[in-house]
């Protein structure tokens, strides 16, 4: 029986971790929407949601109920299969990359060390980039299958934008990989115990964060949904639950991107650790969550502050400014590393 238990515990730990991370992510998504409405309202001298619960705290619940009871409309000539597939694809991919995000060191229960991470791939960083690169399909297929002109234009625009900014995103990260000498997210964080990467790779961080905003289709790069030109972008024809999936996917992507920024540039879960063993295990998770929260706030702050780019400006900025700067950053970093190693 003892051996059985040995086999069972890691499996149970994984299931519990998957459950906890999923619930935490979905809650974070729901309350990121609430936070966004509140903060943007504050920036614009309004109250924001205030009626449902104290300070509108139950607003996400009300929104979810409302959206489930809406009529689900499918355009008459839509390609049914792809029209169904697109939101599920977008949502699944948005949830997938959180699997390799480490959010703390580890906890020891009954002699078993359980790391605060669902799957520790030795190429975790590349896994996140791979899942991000698949994210284009949700948007492109949604725009195409709706069989309607505004979604098609929006889908094409955002596909072009995501493909263009993926390159800068990758180049911004290459510097960190070279400094850390590893593609494992856990090792990249552990290498930052002396100095956070944001001080070693400031250009890399700016590149990554700018490209990440564009990759998640947010202001000032929210061209795909530019309401005044495209009605609502690729998801114009979507309603009810399928619309909610796109919406949740967008916010889940923001959370993932913020997690990655924290891990790569701001030392992940590193921070002052003290007290009894349990507190020692949980404090890193708290530091990690705090840093991610700062990034979420920054996202919303940027949305409340900056106007939208024009489409040609956006493409020119990506290809003619961000990409060369990224290449230069890689070159300079490799030269410095080579000079140091001699």
């Amino acid at each position: 029986m003892a051996m059985r238990f040995d086999l069972l515990l890691p499996l149970l730990a994984i299931l519990v971790k998957v459950g906890v991370v999923l619930v935490a992510l979905l809650t974070a998504v729901a309350y990121a929407v609430w936070l966004e409405r509140k903060v943007v309202a504050r920036i614009q001298s309004r109250w924001g949601p205030y009626r449902v619960g104290p300070h509108g705290l139950l607003q996400p619940v009300a929104d979810a109920l409302k959206i489930f009871f809406k009529e689900d409309i499918v355009p008459s000539d839509a390609d049914r299969v792809v029209y169904w597939l697109a939101p599920f694809l977008a949502f699944t991919l948005a949830l997938l990359s959180i699997a390799v995000i480490p959010f703390g060191t580890s906890i020891t229960i009954g002699g078993h060390t359980i790391p605060f991470q669902i799957a520790d791939l030795n190429v975790g960083l590349l896994f996140v980039l791979a899942v991000t690169s698949l994210g284009v399909y949700g948007v492109a297929l949604a725009g195409w299958s709706s069989n309607s002109k505004y979604p098609l234009l929006g889908g094409l625009r955002s596909s072009a934008q995501m493909i263009s900014y993926e390159l800068s995103l990758g180049l911004g990260v290459v510097g960190v990989v070279m400094v850390a000498g590893s593609l494992s997210l856990r090792e990249i964080v552990e290498r930052q115990s002396d100095l956070w990467n944001v001080f070693v790779q400031p250009v890399g961080f700016l590149l990554y964060f700018t490209a990440a905003i564009a990759e998640t289709n947010r202001v000032p790069f929210d061209l795909p949904e530019g309401e005044s030109e495209l009605v609502g972008g690729f998801h114009t024809e979507y309603s009810s639950f399928k619309f909610a999936m796109f919406f949740m996917a967008e916010y889940a992507n923001i959370v993932t991107v913020s997690c990655l920024a924290t891990l790569l540039f701001f030392g992940g879960w590193l921070g002052p650790v003290f007290g009894p063993p349990l507190l020692r295990a949980l404090l890193p998770v708290l530091w990690f969550c705090l840093k991610v929260f700062c990034f979420l706030f920054l996202y919303i702050w940027i949305r409340g502050t900056l106007p939208r780019f024009r489409y040609d400006q956006l493409m020119a900025f990506g290809w003619k400014f961000l990409l060369p700067v990224g290449l230069l950053n890689v070159l300079v970093t490799s030269l410095i590393l080579a000079w140091r190693s001699t």
Partner: protein, 163 residues
Amino acid sequence: MAPLFYVLATVAILAALCLVLERTPVYSALSLIVVLCSLAVIYLLLGAEFLAVVQVIVYAGAIMVLFVLVIMLLNARQETSTDRSRLARWLGAPLLLAFLGEVIFAVWQRFPPETAPAATALVGGPRAIGELLFRNYVLPFEVTSILILVAVLGAVVLAKKRL
């Protein structure tokens, strides 16, 4: 791991059949993505994490995106079947069977089942692949990259001429 392999292999083969038999181009492209992703998971099962991720990034995330976008932009609808050539009908099946038989025989001869390499024996880490690419095969690697660059430039020149 073996049952998981058979599930993935079945998925890959079904998707590949779908790719060939499907009349709507977008479905064919999507089936090809399924084939590529299930191959990536098979690499993952073999312990080649780097190769699996690169497979997804390069093929599913970049090349197939281009395919799908082109199909969407041309708005290609259902294929219409042309008059099938009689030669293909009579020669196609036997030739296909002969080819399949040859491939299976070659693989069987090279790797008898009992000497199949163990999954852990494969070295597929980023460091191993990087060292192979940039030490042993650096010339072919660079020549290939120049070839791709030439192809890209050629495509741009051809497209510009038409504008």
